[in-house]
Structure formats: structure tokens, C-alpha cells
Subunit: 702 residues, 2 copies
């Protein structure tokens, strides 16, 4: 399937034009000039020859089977061209033409139609509204971007065609090789997910680079991304990060989880290396394509100038990696070879008049030293500096066991040296900081690859009971599940909840109070009242029968007066919870990526400090612990500042139980356990209050 | 004085060499090749002619007055050369030679000696151990870096010579003009402060760029920086940010305030624009040198590609600026001129086939629209794109009332267009993100320029009383001032402190307790005990005479047993403080910049969340309010999350009173008010506990 698209033998260009500047001309010219080795079939009813190639009025006249059809004709004619291409045996079709989904409903309908035409015949469709595609190793430039890139290991999938042209132009200026470049356009059929899958298996692709504005199916994307990331690095720049936000949400979790949080959680779970800026996208990809991954975080810096060495050391420390010093033996061996004024500390300063040989000695020493995991080499163009020779010398001694990243700082004097570095697979950056940011990305990916196997704990739960509760709520259109039922659900999934019960009369209330033990808390139970305490619907610490009776009467009478239309199910009584560290555990269902679990310390920490962590369910114990550890306030759970250390294993288990619950029941749209009161180690933790929001209909159970 | 250095008529090169590659040769060649219009005097006892110029064995043989001597001879001969230069009437001397302070004590002594020689004759000394200096408008390259830069408005002061070579090389590759470039080397005499002062007055300098690793005198630096910043932008990259830290400190404030915090506080107070990376240093400087400052935060984005437009919008939002839309009138006027598929929202999308004219229409519309403060123009190289013509067209319509920053994305195809932009004073960046980061720096500087005048409040205080307390403590070598005295000091400076008194006996304790009113708190008073509660030295909420007597006896007896050597001054009794929001106010004296005030919410917020703000004293009310507002937890003081709103004016006043106290008494090294209990508006706020650390000797009062 992808062979017809990526490695076709015969490519038809439907809409081949004789007018330079027109898309149909440019594609044909690019195919021909790029040195495509297969057959090129220009199709144009009003030309006999285009670019020196015989031109056919239609595919029928050509008469033979084609593999790939590239369509660049007016929108109205596209449907017939697709029909003809399918008839001619095309395995894949790229529609360059615009004027589909992006222009409104009619275009959307046409787009659906052509996608369906292809789908029904098992033909894959790229676009519409795209730049086309390039396979450098197949010498095929089936796009209207004129730069045929050098052959290299980076493949690009982009949702912006214009960005592809900028990338190709930039890659040409830096002599950076690419493998495949695909502009996915409107993604009527083929999407980022398909190319993740295809490129994961592609031997020529060492690194996958993606520019995304949206993602089709979150689930499939994550699966494809995790699979691809396990085989090779995937670096993605996602734009549109600030635009989502602000969706109405009924839970804390929902209001804190923007779309960008979801992308972040999805990316980090599936091993995607996230680039935060356009420049970092290729900064990272270059290093990943050219150099081995670091095995640890110890970085040796080699420089011919003090200032840039300090900059680099700052950047390493700020990134969380370590500026390491050579082991004593290697340091003294190196010291004996370098001039006396040189420093073999870290940064290793080979001095302003360093020749290539001095750089080699330093690089060799760092490569041989077990305490070094990665090497950053800096050069400034001083009077005696030989950038080209130094580049060659470093390349000559590189052993490819540890990553070497380079920054030749400057402009004119270092430009040929920088080209030499790149041609020798030594990634070169305009500043030490950018080299180190790339190294950090490598280091994080390396850590992800070494992550422990994902083992999900399956807890013994009472699933049937929850099913009953949910069904009853949805049937009666009670989509906001009250506290009492929410706690039943939690209890069925193994959470400790305060003992309690629903009372319809004052006598029942006393009975329940005596059963669970005084003192008790009492809360009005009504599907119509969300903020109970605002309306006098909560009483705490009631410690006698009289107090319970008084509270029952006052509460029910008052609510009737204040909210005469509210349906009242009774009053919910429960044990007063003991004190402890208040935590919020929650879940909100992201439209793209599904259930996002949330953890944060109660109240101020969540709402003012926004100190929360998200993870896409399902979650393992190790991942839950990592969530906790990623917040600043985790220090408090560990017992900082004289706070009592709490049983954070119970918190991590709570997250896993929520994960199981929301995976089992897709009808649960949002939920908060707020507060989850975490006890000291050895004590019980308790879900003291909870709220669950249900979907409007029953879902197919998974 | 600076004229001799920066605009000399006669320059002597002492150590002029005939051997290319040698520093003494390169300087001479650079002076000559750079087109220096004054007299060049090579000095070398063993040559008659160097670089085609008559060479003198010594300055005496030259016989005429020189203005600037550039010395590049072995270290041992430098002293005599300086002597000779002074005799020859030099007003300034640049010592290129290394081997001084940086190599140890002997070098340090020699460096001091030559500095003193110059100082005593009123001659200014640049270096030693530097690259030299360049004045592009004077056509003088008195350095051993070979690139004579184009004439421009950016002046560079750098503590790293190697970095200067990289900067010059880079500037040459981007056709960026410079005014002056000075390598300050070891700063034996002339330092960053001197050049801040000089360049502030220099008409040719539009922007000052600094690379600093250390700063001599913090006070003078801040004064010079604030003065310079008021006249023109000063952009500084400070390296070595991670190395300080970890100094032992006895206060919270001290332990939280690293050296980098101090630099940050000093820079932001004096209007310095801080660059966090090497690339951003010139990214910012370019924009500031070429474009007017924005008057507000509303940014219009113009692009020929959707993807990069979204990137830019993200970057604007993340920076805190606003993506603005055109006013209805200008939008519809523009809409009528552009093709129908173009978008006049924001980003304004002029489409992939945009010609220069379309860019001009969009730029014109944004320039005329009052709702736009700044314009970012993006171009990607597509089939119909004309980068050079577009660059010229934008330059042609730029009105210089609002900043226009540009990103031509790509490599080869846009490179001439990028050069055109730069030559037309349109700053060009490789990515939209970098353009927007530069715009943000401009916007912050613009805000600093518009800041309200700094009016310090001088509170009526009892200064004499504090003087007595401090003198007594220092004379008796009690450098840790106990709570009781610290509160006396605070009280003298207008803080509310709990009523209290020191009791030597149980009877006295009861007497004090009855006077201040029960219940009381009791704390052991001993200069030797810092953590009182750890040793049973604190009792709270004592509400009867018996309880006070019991506590007094228990506490004094227990301490005698547990810390037999501790000197005990008695027991301090005071009113129990009412509850309120606990805040930490403090001060630590930075070795460079002096008293740094700190604000943070008590306990967890300071210690776990590190949510604190610093400001260098003295502080105005507006600055104190800004400090509060810069912390996340300020939301709590304002009454978020159902918390009681507190009187934050009292907190701001507290910071100003501390500012006055520590400015009045330089002997105060560190102090914490912890907690400062902030009341609700209308209630009193109170300094509930305090600690002051004094210097080992009395200081000259200011």
C-alpha cells in the first residue's frame, strides 16, 4: 500500500502543465529534475509534450498500469481524475488541489466523497490540499517544492505545506539529508498516524519529525507513536497550544486540563520528544539522526574560550544534566599533553590558540573516560583557529559510542567548518545552549527507552454494582451523580469511604448516626443542588441524637423554603472524617486522548499554584508514582517542613483504581475525589467527598 | 579621557611584529586595513618597517605625543611599556598581553602595580588580557580580531575576548553594523560600569550589549545601568548563573537568595534587558537598534502560510502579549483588496502565492490601525514567493512608528531576502518565535521606561533607639540578635509587635503576663539557642498564673539540664498573636548589590514552592506592590479560594520599613520577620517573630 505511494515505479501527473510557475508544471519538472528512475506519465488533454516528456490526453490513452497518481487540476475535475486513476490501477493518489474541507460544507462533502471512492477500492489517498511528497532515496520529488533534499535519515510529516518548503530550503542551506517528506494536507485518508506506522518500519528513516496542528484519533495516534518511538526517535512540534483552553467543565480536573495538557500527557506517555519551538524541532532531530544516545547525564565540555564554556556549563546545569569532570587518571594524562595554561577541569579549556590536535586529545580523553556520557565541543574563531581542519579532526577521532554535539560559534569564518561537521554527521549548533538542549532531548528519550515494562495492576472490584448504579442514573437522566452514589461507586472499586447512609426521616437519621457512630456529618441529598454548603445543606460534627434531629429538620425545612423546586432524596449522614493531608484525585475525558487522570494537593495547591500532574489512563504504579513526584508539593507528602509523611502508596493506588474505573466505564465523563484524605503510612486513606459526571447515554462496554 | 581610548588621533602599537599570526602583527594590520585615519606608530626595537609603516625602536624615538598605546609584548616588559606610554602623553592604554591576575598572585600584584601607575597619572587602562577595542565609526580596529564591522548602532562590551571574535564573525555574516566593541579583559581599571557611563553619552550607540561574567561594584553598576537604560536599551547576558548558590546562610531569606537572584533583581531594577541565551542577546539588540519601541502589547501577525502563523500566535500568547485583530474598518478595507481566500483575522493570511504588494497592503493596514502596537511579518519560500522584492516592499512602506519584526523562514531561497531586510533596518529572525521573543523584550523595556517616578517614602522612626541596640550587641559580640531585641528594633521602625517583656524570675513572668493580658506565649531568651522549640524552649497559650509559673520553672530547669552552657537571659513573654495569613518578610545583603528584600507566603509557599520575590533596597511603594503581585500566592492575599482578603498594603509598607531600616543600618546583614501576620483590611498586621543577624563590626553610618 505504502509502496505505491512512497516507492512507485510509475507516477502519473494529472494536470501536467506547460506553464512554469503552475503547480502542474512544477511537479512534473521536480520529478524529472530530481532524477526519478521510474516512468513519468504527464496527463493533459491539450498538450503533446511537457518538459520533454510525451504527454497523454488521459490515463486511458496511456493504457498501462500506474502506481501513483498526482492530481493537480481544478477542484471540480478531481472526482473524475480519481476515478480514472483507480481504473488505471493506481495504488495511491496524491491530491495537491485545494478547495475541499478548508472552504466549507460543499468542499467537505466532496472531500468525503473522494475519500470514500479510494477507500472502497483499497487505494490510499494523500491530501487533498497538500504539497505532495518526496522520497530522497527513491529520487522522487512528487511535490511542488523545488529543493530535492540530500539523502539522509530524517523523515518529515507535516500538516503545513508551506512549512515543508521552509524546511527543505533550510535543510539545503545546512546540507542536511532527509529520507522522506510528506505533506498530509487535509488528511482525508492518510494521516500522521499512518505515516508513524509506515516510517517506523522504514529502514531509511532514522528519525521521524512531525509538525502537527491537530490529531485525528488520539487512541490510534498514541499506539502508533509508542510503537514508532520504541524503534526510533519521534520529534513533534505541535502548534496551536494556546487556543484550546477555556472549555466549560464541571470538575476541578476538567477546568485544569486544557487541550495542551492532554497533548503533553499523550506525548510523554508515548515517548514522543516534544519540540517547543520550530528551531528545536530540527535541533533535536539532527542530533538524534547523527549521534548515538547518551547512557547517562554526565556531560564533558571542550572549548577554546572561557566565556562560551561557562555558558555551556550553565546550560547543562539548568537542564538538569551534570557537568562532569574527567577521572583523575584521564585528567592527568590529558594535562600532560596540553599546554600548562590549559584546564582539564570541566569545561576542558584547550585555550584560544588550540589547533585541531588539541581538540582531538581532549575528545579522545573524554571518549575513553567512563565518567563521561556525552561530549559538547565549542569553538570560537580566534586568530590561530582552523575551523575546517578542526571539524575534520573531531570527525576523524569520533568513535560513535557517546554523542558528540558541536557548536562552532560565529558566522563567515566558521561556515565551511560547520558544513564539514554536518557532512561528517557531527550536529553543529550556532550556540552551546542549543547543542545542550538537543542533548537533553536525547537524554530524555534514552531514559524513556530504558523505562520499566508497563505492568497494569488489575484490582478485584465489584464491577456489576457500579454498572447498576450508572445504568440507573443514565436511564433517569441524572448525569450528575450525587455524593452518596459516587461513594458507592468508589467503594465498589476498593476505596475507603466514610460509613454512612441516606435518611428520609429524622428518626432514620438518628438510627444511621448511631450505627456509624457519633459525631457525624449531614449533607442534603438532591440531584438539583451542587453547592450544598452555599445553601445551608451541610452540617458537621453533630455529636448527639438531638443535634442530628435538629439538623435534619432545619436542613429539610430550610431547603424547601430556599429552593422549593429542588428534588430532595433525603439527608446523607456519615462518619466525620479524621484529619489528614487533603488531595484531589480526578479524571476528565479529553476528546482526543480519552481519560486524563489528575493528581494535586488539595485547595490552594491545585487552584492557586496550579501544581498538578496529568496522565492518560490506564496508569501503572510506576507511572502513578512519577505523577506524584513531578509536582512540587510532593515534598509535603514525603514529610518536608515538619509535615507528617503520608502514605503516598495509597495515593498512587487510588490513581490506579480510578484508572481502572474510568477504563471500565466510558460513561464516566469527569470525576473528582476531593478531598482524598491521605493517612500516615499504616493508616487508612479515605475518599471523603466525590463527584461523578456521566455521559448522556450508555456506552458500549470495552 | 574616553576620547583618547575610543577616538584617538595617534595610536602606538607596542610590540608591532613582522610575523603574521602574531598578536602584535595582527593588531597593526587590522588598524591599517580597517582604514584608521589617524597616525599609527609601530614600536619594535628590531624592525625598521612593519606592514609598510615606519617602525620605531621606542616611543622616545617617535618623539611626538600619542593618544592611545596598545601593548602586545611579553608580560615582563609591560611595566616599562606603560611607563614609556605615559611619558609619551598617552591618555589611554590597552594591554592585550595576558599573564596577570588570571595566573596567580604574582600576576595579580603586577596587575595592581600597572593599574596604579596609570591611575596616578590620570591615564585609563583597558585590560590587561583582552582582545582590544574597535570603533567602527572612527574606522579603528585596535584589536586582534580581523573583522572590521559595518558601521551600526550596537555597541558591545564583553568580558570574553573569544566571544568578541564570534560576535564579529557572526555580525559580518548577517551584515549587522556595530558602533563600538570593547573587550574589557581583567578590568584592572576600566570596567563594564565605565563603559555603561561612556556609551550612555555616545551618540553613535543606540543599544548597549554586554556579556558579563562578574561585576565589580554592584552599587556603581546599578547606578550606571539605570542611567544608561534611561537613555537607550542595555541588553546583558550574564553567564555563570548556576555556579554561585549554596552559600551558608542563617536566615530563610539568605538561603533562598542565590547570586543569580541578586543579578536578576539588580537588572530588573535598573532597566537592563536580560538575555537568557547567547542568541537572544543579539536577537534583542537587533530589534532594539533597528525599530521603534511598541507602545502596547497588541501584536498583528502577517503571514503567507497558516502553520507558521499559528506558531507565531502561540508564541505571542505564551509571552503574555496579545494577538490582536484589526479594527472592523481596516479589516474590511484590507479584505476588499486581498483575494477572497485570504484571512484578515489575526494572523492575517495573505496566502501562499502572495506577492510583495499583498504584504504591503497588510503592513499598511496594520500600521494605520490604532489597535495594533507591533507587527510581525512571516514569509515562507513558496513557488510564487519573491523574498527580495518582498523585503524591499516592506522596507518601502515601513513608517517607523510601530516596530516591525520579520521572519523569513528557510535557508538558501530566502538568504538574499534576509540580507535585504537587515540592510533596510528590518530585523530578521530564523523563526517567528525568536522574532516574538525580541518583541517581548522591547515591550518590557518600553514598560520600564514608562514606569512611575521612584518616590521613596521616608517613615518617621526612632533611629536612635535602634542605634543603641545595635551598638550594644556588636560591642558584646552578640551578632545574632534575639527575638526580644529584634522586636524592639522593629517596633522602633513602626512595626506592630506583640506586647511583651523579659522575665528573670517566675514572679516577674506572672507580672508581665498580667500586664500584657492572658493568654501568653513564653520563649526562652538565650543568645546561644536558635531553634528554641526543638529544645522545649517555647510554650504557647498559657492562660493562668499557675500555667505561667509552671512553664517558667520547667523551661529554665530543662534548658539548664539540656544545654548547661547556654547563657540564659530569662524568659520572654508576650501576647498570643491572633491568627491571620502568615508571611515572611526578610532581607539578606548580597555581596555585590547590597540589601535584597524578600517577600513570600509563610512556610510551605516559601520553602517547598519557592514562591518568593526579591528586590534590591531601597524600595518604593509601587515596587513593593509589584513584588507581591509577582508571586503566585498573591492570589491568596487578594482573597482567592474563599481565603480572607488581607491588608496587603500593610505588607507593602512592611517591606518599605525594612528597606529603610537596612539602608539606615548597614550592620544588619540578614533579617527575617517570620511570620509577619497580615490582618484583614482595617485590622492591625503584626510582626510575630523576628531574627536579625549583625555584622562583626560597626559600619560608617550613611
Amino acid at each position: 500500500m505504502f509502496e505505491a505511494l512512497l516507492e512507485p515505479k510509475t507516477v502519473a501527473v494529472i494536470g501536467a502543465s506547460r506553464t512554469p510557475g503552475k503547480v502542474g508544471y512544477e511537479i512534473l519538472a521536480n520529478l524529472k529534475d530530481g532524477g526519478f528512475g521510474g516512468s513519468i506519465v504527464p496527463v493533459n488533454p491539450s498538450a503533446d509534450e511537457v518538459c520533454g516528456l510525451k504527454c497523454y490526453p488521459d490515463l486511458e490513452s496511456y493504457g498501462k498500469k500506474i502506481d501513483l497518481a498526482v492530481i493537480a487540476i481544478p477542484t471540480a475535475a478531481v472526482r473524475d481524475a480519481i476515478d480514472a486513476s483507480i481504473t488505471a490501477g493506481a495504488g495511491a493518489i496524491a491530491v495537491i488541489t485545494a478547495g475541499f474541507k478548508e472552504v466549507g460544507d460543499a468542499g467537505m462533502a466532496l472531500e468525503r466523497e473522494i475519500a470514500q471512492m479510494c477507500l472502497s477500492k483499497g487505494v490510499r489517498l494523500l491530501g487533498p490540499n497538500c504539497l505532495g511528497l518526496i522520497n530522497a532515496h527513491h529520487r522522487m520529488n512528487a511535490s511542488f517544492a523545488k529543493h530535492m533534499p540530500l539523502q539522509g535519515g530524517i523523515s518529515v510529516v507535516s500538516q503545513s505545506g508551506a512549512l515543508c518548503t521552509a524546511i527543505l530550503d533550510w535543510a539545503a542551506s545546512r546540507h542536511l539529508g532527509l529520507a522522506k517528506l510528506v505533506s498530509v494536507g487535509n488528511k482525508a485518508d492518510l494521516s500522521e498516524t499512518d505515516f508513524l506506522n509506515a516510517l517506523a518500519e522504514d529502514d531509511k528513516t532514522k528519525v521521524i519529525v512531525g509538525y502537527l496542528e491537530s490529531i485525528g484519533s488520539g487512541d490510534e495516534f498514541m499506539k502508533a507513536a509508542e510503537n514508532a518511538s520504541s524503534k526510533k526517535p519521534v520529534v513533534v512540534f505541535k502548534s496551536g497550544v494556546t487556543q484550546a483552553g477555556g472549555k466549560a467543565a464541571s470538575s476541578h480536573t476538567g477546568s485544569l486540563a486544557g487541550a495542551d495538557m492532554a497533548y503533553g500527557a499523550a506525548f510523554s506517555r508515548s515517548g514522543i520528544i516534544r519540540a517547543d519551538t520550530f528551531e528545536s524541532l530540527f535541533d533535536y532531530a539532527m542530533a538524534l539522526a547523527m549521534q548515538p544516545l547518551p547512557k547517562g547525564n554526565n556531560v564533558a565540555i571542550i572549548t577554546n574560550a572561557g566565556g562560551p564554556g561557562i555558558m555551556a556549563a550553565d546550560a547543562v546545569e539548568l537542564s538538569g544534566m551534570k557537568v562532569c569532570t574527567l577521572a583523575t587518571a584521564s585528567a592527568s594524562a590529558l594535562k600532560s599533553k596540553l599546554p600548562s595554561a590549559a584546564s582539564v577541569g570541566n569545561p576542558i579549556d584547550v585555550l584560544g590558540d588550540a589547533d585541531p590536535e588539541r581538540y582531538v586529545m581532549a575528545v579522545e580523553a573524554a571518549q575513553s573516560d567512563d565518567s563521561v556520557d556525552a561530549i559538547v565541543v565549542i569553538l570560537t574563531p580566534q586568530a590561530m583557529t582552523k575551523p575546517v581542519e578542526t571539524a575534520q579532526a573531531i570527525a576523524g577521532c569520533a568513535r560513535n559510542k557517546k554523542p558528540i554535539l558541536v557548536s562552532f560559534m560565529g558566522g563567515l569564518d566558521v561556515s565551511t567548518g560547520r558544513d564539514t561537521l554536518m557532512s561528517q554527521n557531527l550536529p553543529d549548533y550556532p550556540s552551546p545552549e542549543r547543542a545542550i538542549a538537543a542533548l537533553k532531548a536525547m537524554s530524555e528519550y534514552s531514559e524513556w527507552l530504558r523505562r520499566p515494562p508497563r505492568i497494569l495492576t488489575r484490582f478485584l472490584v465489584n464491577r456489576r454494582r457500579v454498572r447498576r448504579i450508572i445504568n440507573r442514573h443514565i436511564r433517569t437522566e441524572q448525569f450528575q451523580m450525587g455524593e452518596a452514589y459516587a461513594k458507592e461507586v468508589l467503594s465498589a472499586y476498593g476505596f475507603n469511604v466514610p460509613l454512612g447512609g441516606l435518611a428520609a426521616t429524622a428518626d432514620e437519621a438518628i438510627e444511621i448516626a448511631l450505627k456509624v457512630g457519633l459525631p457525624v456529618a449531614m449533607k442534603i441529598a438532591s440531584p438539583d443542588i451542587i453547592h450544598k454548603s452555599d445553601i445551608g445543606g451541610v452540617k458537621l460534627n453533630l455529636d448527639s441524637e438531638d443535634a442530628v434531629r435538629d439538623a435534619f429538620d432545619l436542613m429539610t425545612m430550610r431547603i424547601k423554603e430556599r429552593m422549593p423546586k429542588a428534588r430532595i432524596n433525603g439527608v446523607y449522614l456519615e462518619q466525620m472524617c479524621k484529619r489528614g493531608r487533603e488531595i484531589i484525585l480526578g479524571m476528565t475525558r479529553d476528546p482526543q486522548f480519552g481519560p486524563m487522570l489528575m493528581f494535586g494537593l488539595g485547595g490552594i495547591f491545585v487552584e492557586v499554584m496550579k501544581d498538578v500532574a496529568f496522565h492518560i489512563a490506564p496508569i501503572t504504579n510506576a507511572e502513578a508514582m512519577k505523577m506524584l513526584e513531578s509536582t512540587k508539593s510532593f515534598a509535603l507528602l514525603k514529610g518536608a517542613r515538619g509535615q507528617a509523611r503520608v502514605d503516598f502508596d495509597a495515593v498512587a493506588t487510588g490513581l490506579q483504581r480510578i484508572s481502572q474505573l474510568v477504563t471500565d466505564f466510558p460513561e464516566i465523563l469527569e470525576m473528582d475525589i476531593n478531598p482524598f484524605i491521605a493517612g500516615k503510612p499504616g493508616e487508612d486513606s479515605i475518599a471523603a467527598d466525590a463527584r461523578i459526571t456521566l455521559a448522556g447515554k450508555l456506552e458500549q462496554e470495552r
